[in-house]
Amino acid sequence: MSDPNQVMNRRSRFIEAASRGKILANKCVKCSHSTLETAYFCEKCSSDLSTTEEYDGLGKVVTFTIQSVAPEGFTDAGLYAWVVFRVDGAPFKVSGFLKDIHAPSDLPIGSKVQVTGFDEKHGLLLKRV
């Protein structure tokens, strides 16, 4: 029987790694495809057998927006960007919160960003590098 706390455990492991500036993933033992820690099965071959791998939380911006009208919990964050970035050396993208972005010219597509942590209020925290 599956562990009813598994979602929490997987997310907790992802968050713990993000708190250290890392992105946690799973590498499928059957087909070697890598997926984020929060996925239960390999999206390529459906295997649930994997080994844990950790990526440096560095990547390049693929797209982003600057939220002028923020949802609840972010209304005190000032102008910030929600960013999708491709993780260096990984086949996947991740998204996160990047504060103090005031105009699109502050963050050209392809800019380098780095994971700096994770907090309950704003999620995956990023900075420009």
Partner: protein, 389 residues
């Protein structure tokens, strides 16, 4: 391709006005249902099952909505169920209703979509909508729905030769259509300048790139062809139905400028209907944001990838263009009560094909498509309709 036992028809349709409304979520559903029942010329007792789409009933103190609606229609012993799939709830519910009639379980069903959200205000609505995203990666990191589509827009505008002004043409065209729709939420003519000068919500999207939060309900009576013929009234046949899915999070899509659920649902629906996109006379598509209509019209096969923006600017999607898109005004002008939207699109098709669309009639149209998706396209359904002469 699935083997369907029965042809499925739309025999009646009804809708409330869309907008900021005073009625409760249940009253809205009942008002639209009554109009659909009267439109079909049936008695409630002829309905064998009810299908309800709704997302935020809890915000108006009513979940488990189906039994409440069926009871107030005077048919408390007729089963019903409620289906939720974010902004795509209406069309995905329609698909389930369609499948049950096609399979022969029922001859006549009610399909009603409803939403009541404006009473909670803009900030709370924005927050509730963000729960429709993959919240751990999106809403939880500060992305609102305008923000998610803005990131899609930036990816599109970066890759293709398109501009923010091109997006504005979608808004202007849909408002032109919505003015002709007496039930539309925002019946107001706007200009390109109005769109470009409206406040930024989530760059590059501005206020007039975004549909409004709306209350409203739309309802249909679906039935077998045999049932429809016995009634002797005008009806519309559903000749294609497709469903698709995409990774829930934008970050997990290989290509952010296309929505796989739309592509796959359209392929299935066209194959079932034995048509190509060239056979379509008009379409109601999911234009929650202007960028969505640009991408939808490419994913539905009306334009090649990267060419929709220019086509829209040239007028190809106007009511008298080569492929009219959203003659109802779309989500942008007609409004977006998210549980009702996918059903409301079919109400427009029914009105177009039964002579009730007034000044927004697409003359000589015989084949129409509806396209509606949930969230950023994580779920979608496409249906094809044929006018029965």
């Amino acid at each position: 391709m699935p083997c369907m036992r029965n042809k499925v028809c739309v025999l009646g349709a009804g809708s409330t006005k869309y907008g900021k409304l005073n009625e409760s979520v249940v009253e809205l559903a009942l008002d639209a249902s009554k109009e659909a029942i009267n439109s079909a010329g049936i008695a409630p007792k002829e309905i064998e099952s009810g299908y309800i789409s709704n997302v935020f009933g809890v915000s108006d103190k009513q979940v488990h909505m189906a039994p409440v609606i069926m009871s107030n229609l005077g048919i408390p012993y007729t089963p019903g169920l409620t289906i939720e799939s974010a902004c795509g709830s209406g069309s995905i519910m329609l698909r389930e209703a369609y499948a049950n009639v096609a399979a022969g379980f029922y001859d006549c069903v009610l399909a009603v979509g409803v939403e009541k959200i404006t009473q909670v205000g803009t900030v709370q609505s924005t927050t509730l909508f963000s729960y429709c995203s993959d919240f751990f990666y999106e809403g939880g990191n500060g992305a609102s729905f305008p923000g998610l589509f803005a990131s899609i827009a930036r990816a599109y505008l970066t890759r293709y030769k398109a501009t923010e002004e091109d997006l504005a043409y979608v808004a202007v065209k849909n408002h032109e259509n919505g003015i002709l729709n007496p039930k539309a939420h925002v019946r107001k003519k706007i200009t390109i300048e109005d769109v470009m000068q409206s406040p930024v919500v989530a760059s590059p999207l501005k206020l007039y790139d975004c549909c409004p939060f709306s209350d409203g309900a739309s309802a249909l009576i679906l039935c077998s062809e045999e049932f429809a013929k016995k009634k002797g009234k005008s009806y519309v046949e559903i000749i294609g139905s497709g469903r698709g899915a995409s990774p829930a999070a934008v970050q997990s899509r290989e290509d952010i400028t296309t929505i796989p659920s739309t592509v796959n649902a359209a392929r299935q629906a066209y194959e079932m209907a034995k048509i190509t996109p060239r056979d379509v006379d008009f379409a109601e598509v999911h234009d929650c944001f202007t960028i969505a209509e640009v991408i939808d019209t490419e994913d539905l096969g009306f334009f090649k990838k990267g060419e929709a923006a220019e086509a829209i600017r040239s007028g190809a999607t106007k009511r008298k263009g080569e492929i009219p898109i959203n003659p109802s005004g779309g989500l942008k002008s007609k409004g977006h009560p998210i549980g009702a939207t996918g059903v409301g699109q079919v109400v427009e098709v029914f009105e177009q094909f039964t002579g009730k669309a007034g000044d927004r009639t697409i003359h000589e149209a015989e084949i129409a498509v509806t396209h509606n998706f949930g969230a950023t396209g994580a779920s979608a359904a496409v249906h094809v309709f044929k006018k029965i002469k």
